[in-house]
Point group: D2
Chain length 434, copies 4
C-alpha cells in the first residue's frame, strides 16, 4: 500500500482544537506519530504543574508536538510558494518540528534542576539511539536522523531552517502560546498567526517579516511577555514545583543513605546515580511519577510522606515576595526558628526565582546571544524589530526577575505548640513582603 | 477568618476555558474542592480512551465537575430571582453538582463492565463514608451528607432539584456537551446555554422551559445526538476500550489461576475478588492503571503483554461493521480460524455495541422511563417537547444501535505463516462489512 | 503591471471576520470588486429589516458576496486537487460566486413583492448589459459574461458547477448561514464548513459528500432549519417588512392618483410604471430608500407619513398568530371595525405568511423539484441523504408555514375615542391567538 | 402596565454578538432606546469610512451605544456589590452610558473638521433640548436631563461616575475596542474585560484596579495602542476621509459662490452658514449623505462630481509617507505642477496627519491633562499604572504621529497628456517616500 513518493494514499487529519485540523500527507510523519517514544508524550503534560493553578491546562506534549508540526507544515507550504526553497529539506523540517520535544521527561523543569539533565540532549539520544523513531527516520537515508537532530540542536548548516523551529519567533513558540492560552482559558496568548505566516519571507539565514506585518509581530512578542507573567511564572504553579523538587531531593537523599523504601524506587536508580539509560528514561512519565508519589504518601519518612501528600492533595506552600538583598538579613534567624519548631528549612523554606527576557537583540560579546527578529523594509533592507517598535524596544533586553519565598503556612498557623516562634516567623515573613 | 454566614471573605474564581470563570462564594464549596477525594478526579479523564482519537480531549473529571457546579450556581441564581425557591436548598444543590461524579474510577466504562461496579454507588459511599468529603459536608449538619447523596441518587423528595442535576436536560449534560466539544475541537456540542438558562422556570417537580426558547432546547438535543455519534461512540476510542477491557479480563484470569506477576497487582486484589474497599477504590486512578500497563508490557504472559503494548503504543484493533444476525453465520468459522492461527478469539475477536436514545418521553409500563422535557406554553400549560418539535419528534424514542467487530488486522496482514487461514479470515471480515 | 497569466503581482487579501481572510489572486476578481455595480452592494443590507430585531445584523451583500467567493475559491482548490476538474472553468466559478447577488435591490423581498421584480433577472441584466461588470468580464472573452450568467441562472451545461453555487448545499448558503450567525450573535448557524469541504467530491452533475462526513452535512441542514425560524422569519423583522411593503404600496397608489409629493419620487417613476431601466435600478439602494422615507415623514398624506414614521423610528406593528381558516370568520368584522375607527385595514391589518422547506428530495411530477444531497458510500454508490439520516428524514419535504396577523396595537390601546370598537378588536385578536 | 419601581414587567434582552446579551430592566432605558433620536444612530456608522478598508466594519453607533450601556450596567452591578455606591446614581450612569454618543453626526470626524462642530456639544443639545430623549429623561425629575448631560460633559460632581464613562479606561473604550475588533475581524482589540471589571474598585474620584489585575489593564492599553495603528488610522480609510472632507469643502464653496446645484443641498444650508438647527442636525445621517453624494455624481462641477464618484465607487487616492519638514521643500513645486496639469491641488494634494497618545499620566502645567489609571496595591495605597508596568511606561506620554500625502495616482499614470509633468510629480512623490 506504500506509494513510491512517500505520500499516504489519502491525507490523514487529526482534529485539533487550536488549529482545527492537523494535516498529514507523508508516511514518514504518520509513522513517527505511531512510535512508542512519540506516544509516550501523551503521558507528559505540556505545562508541568500549571494544571494545579489553571485546571484547564491538562494538555500534553503530544498535543503540542502535533501543533508545532502543523505550523511548520504551513510555513513550508508558504515558503515553497515563494519559490526559494530547497524541496529536499521539507521532510527534515517537518520531522524536526514533530520531534523537537521528544526528549522531555515528566515535569522536566524540576527533574533537570535536581538531576542536572538536559531534555535537548535526550531528544538527540532518542533520535539517534536504538529507538523506533530512529528506525523510522533511517528509512529516509542513513544521514536523515542526524540531519533532524542537527536542526533541533541548531547546528544544521541551513540556518533558515533552524530559525523556523528555534528562534525568537518560531513554530514552537507560536504553537505553545496559542495552545496554552486555549487550554488555560486566558486570552493573552492570542495573536494573528495567519498574518505572521503571510508576511514571513525566507532570508539568508533566518525568516524575516515584511514591515507591513510589524504590528502582528509586535503583538506576538507582547503575548509572549504576558503569558510568562500570567501563566508560566504563576506563583501557585511554582509552589507545586518547589514541593516536587524537594520530593526528588528527599528521595535521592534517602536512597543515598540506605533508607528502606516500602516501594523501592526502581525507576529512579540509574537517574539518582547520574547514569540514566535510554530505556529507563523512556519509561519515565508522569503516570509513573504519580504512582510513586501516591505510594510515598504512606512512607515512614515524615518529610517524604508530607511532601507527597501536599503535592497529591494540592496542599501547597504559601509565599511572600522577597528581595534577595534584604532576605539575607532575616535568613539566619528564619532558619534557626524553623529548626526550633522542628521543621527542616532545607525542605520547607525555599526561595524560587523566575526571570524572563521577552525579546533581545545581539549584544556583542555576550554569550547566549539571541538572533534578533528582522523586518523586511519596503526598500528591501532589513531592520531589527526593536528599532521600529517602541513597545518592543521598551522590553528589549530587560530581564525581569521575580523572587518568592515559599513556606508551609498551615504549619505556622497551627500554634498549639511553639506559638511564640511561629508568630515571630510569620512576622518576619510579613515584613519581608512589605 | 471564617464568617458566620459561611461565605468566603472574598469570592474566589477559577479560570475556566469553557465558562470563562467559575465563581465560588461559599466556604463549603471551597473546602470540598480541597479534599483528597475531589483532587483525585484530576487523575481520571473525563472521556476515558477518547484522547486516543481526539488528542485534545485530555481533560479530567475535575475539570468537568467544576463546570457542572458553575452551571448549577447560575441555575440557582436564576431560579432564586424568580422568587419561588427554598433558599435552604442552595448549598445542597451546589454540593450535589460538584460531587455528582466523585465516585468515578479510572476508565469507568470498562471497569464497570468487567467488575460489575457502579460509579453511582461509589459516589454514595464516598459522600457517606469515612472521607474528607463526608467530614466537610457534615459540618453543615448531620443530615447534610445524606441530603446531597439523595439528590445524586434521585431519591430526594424535592424533584425539581433532582431534575437540575439529572434529567434529560441538566447541569451535568450541559457542561459535558460544551466541555467535550471544546476539548475535542468538534463544533457539534455547542448550543446556547445562556438562553436555555434564561427560559428555565421552576415547576412542581422539574424545571420547564418557556416555549419561546423551544429552538434553543431543540438545538441542545441535537447537539447531544451529534456528540454521541461523532465523539462518544467513535469506533477508534471503542477499539481502545475493547483492548482495555480485555487487559482487565486477562489480568483477573491470570490472578485467579495463580500466575506469578513480575509486578504483583496489589491495587486490584480486592477488586478482582469483588470486595473492593473504599480506601482501595480511592487509590485507583488512571496513573496507577498506566503504571501497571507499562510494567505489564514486559510480562511473560503473551496475551497480557501484547494487549498492554497495544494500549500504551496505540496499536489498536481494526474493525468492520457487523450485523448481529448475519454475524452468527460466520462466527463459528471465524473462531476456529483464529484458534488455528494461534490467536485466542476470546481476546482478539470482539463485538462491541453502542446505542443511544437521544430523547424520550414517558412510555407507560416500561422501566427506565425518562422524565420528558416540558415546555411552558404562553397560556401557562405544559406541553411535552416532541409534540412541539418535528426534529425532536423524529428522534424521540428511537434507539440507534451500532455493532462493530474488532480484530488485530496487523496480525492478519503478516502472512509469513498461516497465509491461507488469514486470507480466509480477511475475506470473511470483508464480506461482513458489505 | 499586468501579468500574462491574469494573476496579480502579489495576492491581495481582505480581512474578513467570518473566514478570517479572503484571498484574491486573479486580476479579474480584483477588478470586479472595484466596479461601480459591485461597490453598490455596500449599500444593500444582507438581511433587509432584520437589523431592527438583531441590531448586530447590519452587514451588507458586499460582505456576503466576498464570502461566497472565498468559499467557492476553496471548493475549487479542493476539487482541483482531486484531479477531475476542468481548469478553464475556474474563473467562471469564481466570478459567478462573486456576482450571484449583484442584482439584489434594497429590501429585495418587499420590492419584489410589490413591483413583481426578480433579482435574478436583474443579476443577469447587470452581467450582460452595459455595465462596468460586463466590461471587465468581457475581457476574458466574448462569451464569458454569458457563461457566468448561465451558471447563476442554473442553465449552464456543467451541472456540477451549477450545484456549487445553487443547490441545497452550496457556497451561497454556507456563507450566509455562517455570516448571519456571526453578525446576529445567534449560535445556531454554525457548522463545520471545513469538514464539509473536505468530504466534498465531484460527481457527474453535482457535488456529493463522502458518507463519513454525513453528520457534518446533517448539522448544516439543522443549522439552516434553525436559522430560518430563529432569525430569517423572526416576527419583529417581518413586522418591519409589512410596514415597508405598505409604504411602497401607498406611494405607488398616491403617484397613480396624481398626489403631489413634497419630494417627488423621481427614483421610483419607472419602477412604479413597471418599466425600470438598468440605470435607475442600479441607482436604487437603501440609502436612497432611507432618504425618501425620512422625507415622507413630513408628507401631507396621513397614511404615508405615519407608516414612514413607524419604519424610521421602529414603532412597529404588534402581531398575533393566526389560523387562516379561522381567520376568515372574524375577518369581515375586523375590517368593518377598522373602518369604523378610521383606520384603513388595507394598510393596517395585514396577514403575513412565512414558510420554509428545509430540505427535500425529488418528488417526481412536482414542479420546483430540488436536486437532493447525495452521500458517496464506501462502496462507491450514491445514496440520498434522508435515507441515511433520521433527522433529515424527519424534516424532509415538510413545509412548515407560519401565519401572523399584524396590526397597530398603539392605536388600539389609545381609547380616548372609539373605546368600544377598539376593545372589541382587541378581544377578537386575542381570541385569534388562542 | 407600568410598575411603580420603574422596572419592566419582564427583563428585555437584545442579542448582541459582542456581549452575547444586553439586559434591560428599567423602563427608562427601554424608552430611551425607542426614541427617534436614538434610533437615528442606526444610520451612522461607528467607524466612519473604515468599512471601505475592513468590509466587516459596517456596524453603527446604535450597536456601540447599547454595548456601552451593557458594560456600564455590569460595572454598576459590581460596584453595588462592594457596598459603597449611591443607588440614586444608577439610572444617571446607565442613561449617560447609553446616550454618550447621541450627538454624533454622519462621518463625524470630517464634518467636525469642515464645519467646526463638536459632537459633544450636540449630545448636550439633544439631551437638554426639545427632543423625545429629553421628554423621556424628564419623567425622572426636572434635573435629571441635566445630571445626565453633566456626566457626559465630565462636569458632574461625582467624579467616580464621570470616570466610568470617560477616562483612560472606561465603558466607552472597552466597548469600542471589543466591538471594532469583532466587526473588523482583527484580533488585536481583545482583552479580558471580565477580569478588569472584577478587579475594579471604587475610589474617591475614579475607579481604580487591584494590582493583581495589572496585566489585564496592561493588555487593554496595548489593545488600544494596536487598534489605533491597525484599524483607526489605517491609511486607506483616511484616504476616503480625505476625499469626503474635500467634497464637503467643495460643496460649501460652490454654495457660497452661487453655484446652481441640480440637487439643492437643502440639508446643508444652515450648516454651511454655521447656524445648524437641532432639527436639521437630527435629520442628517449617513443615508442622507450617501443620497447627496450619489446625486452629485452627475453635477456639472467637475471637482464635485469627480470626488463624489471616487467616494461612492471607492476609487481612492494613493498615498506616500511624508516628513513635514522635508515636504516643505517640494511643496511649491508640486503645487505648481498640479496646476500645470489642470488638477487643483487644494482638492487633490492633501496631507493628512494622525496621532495617538495611547496612555498618559499627569504632566503638571500642561493642558489636556489626563487622569491616569491607578492600581490599588495590596497595602491599600494607590500607584500610577506606568510605574508598575514597563510596557505601559514605554508608551506613556509618547505621542506618535504619522503624516501621509494623498494624491490621485490614476490621473498621474494616465500620461496621454502632460506626460513630462506627471513623471516629475511621480518622481517627487517617490523621493518623498524614501
Amino acid at each position: 500500500m506504500k506509494r513510491p513518493d512517500g505520500q499516504l494514499q489519502e491525507e490523514k487529519v487529526f482534529k485539533d482544537p487550536v488549529h482545527r485540523y492537523i494535516h498529514v500527507r507523508d508516511e514518514l510523519i504518520w509513522e513517527l506519530v505511531g512510535t512508542r517514544e512519540f506516544q509516550r508524550l501523551r503521558r507528559i503534560r505540556q505545562l508541568g504543574t500549571t494544571y494545579l493553578t489553571f485546571h484547564g491546562a491538562e494538555h500534553t506534549r503530544f498535543n503540542h508536538s502535533l501543533g508545532v508540526y502543523e505550523i511548520m507544515r504551513r510555513m513550508v507550504e508558504n515558503l515553497e510558494k515563494k519559490g526559494e526553497w530547497d524541496k529536499d529539506e521539507r521532510l527534515v523540517c517537518l520531522a524536526a518540528a514533530l520531534l523537537h520535544d521528544v526528549g522531555h521527561g515528566p515535569f522536566s523543569h524540576s527533574f533537570e534542576k535536581v538531576f542536572h539533565m538536559d531534555h535537548e540532549e535526550w531528544t538527540r539520544r532518542i533520535i539517534l539511539g536504538d529507538t523506533e523513531i530512529n528506525s523510522v527516520l533511517s528509512r529516509m537515508g542513513a544521514d536523515f536522523p542526524m540531519r533532524v537532530a542537527d536542526v533541533i540542536a541548531k547546528t544544521y548548516d541551513n540556518k533558515l531552517i533552524v530559525s523556523l523551529i528555534s528562534s525568537q519567533i518560531d513554530a514552537d513558540r507560536m504553537d505553545y502560546l496559542l495552545r496554552d492560552a486555549f487550554y488555560t482559558g486566558v486570552s493573552y496568548g492570542n495573536f494573528d498567526m495567519e498574518r505572521i505566516l503571510r508576511v514571513m519571507r525566507p532570508s539568508e539565514d533566518q525568516a524575516v517579516f515584511k514591515q507591513s506585518g510589524m504590528h502582528a509581530v509586535e503583538d506576538y512578542i507582547m503575548s509572549r511577555y504576558q503569558m510568562y507573567w500570567q501563566v508560566y511564572f504563576h506563583p501557585v504553579s511554582r509552589s507545586a514545583e518547589v514541593i516536587l523538587t524537594k520530593i526528588l531531593h528527599r528521595a535521592k537523599h534517602l536512597l543515598a543513605n540506605g533508607y528502606e523504601f516500602k516501594l523501592n524506587p526502581r525507576h529512579f536508580h540509574t537517574m539518582f546515580r547520574g547514569e540514566t539509560t535510554l530505556e529507563d528514561y523512556i519509561r519515565l512519565d508522569e503516570s509513573v511519577i504519580s504512582y510513586y508519589f501516591q505510594e510515598w504518601e504512606d512512607e515512614e519518612d515524615v518529610i517524604l510522606r508530607d511532601l507527597c501528600q501536599r503535592f497529591m492533595r494540592r496542599h501547597l506552600f504559601q509565599y511572600v515576595e522577597c528581595d534577595p538583598s534584604e532576605q539575607m538579613l532575616i535568613w539566619p534567624e528564619l532558619q534557626d526558628l524553623f529548626k526550633k519548631i522542628g521543621v527542616d528549612p532545607h525542605y520547607y523554606l525555599v526561595v524560587d526565582s523566575s526571570s524572563d527576557l521577552p525579546y533581545d537583540f545581539y549584544r556583542p560579546g555576550e554569550k547566549d546571544e539571541r538572533v534578533p527578529i528582522h523586518l523586511l523594509m519596503p526598500n528591501g533592507s532589513l531592520r531589527e524589530l526593536s528599532r521600529e517598535s517602541d513597545v518592543v524596544e521598551a522590553i528589549s533586553g530587560k530581564k525581569r526577575t521575580d523572587h518568592k519565598l515559599y513556606y508551609p503556612e498551615d504549619l505556622l498557623l497551627d500554634q498549639s505548640e511553639f506559638a511564640e516562634e511561629k508568630q515571630r516567623i510569620l512576622a518576619l515573613l510579613k515584613k519581608e513582603e512589605e
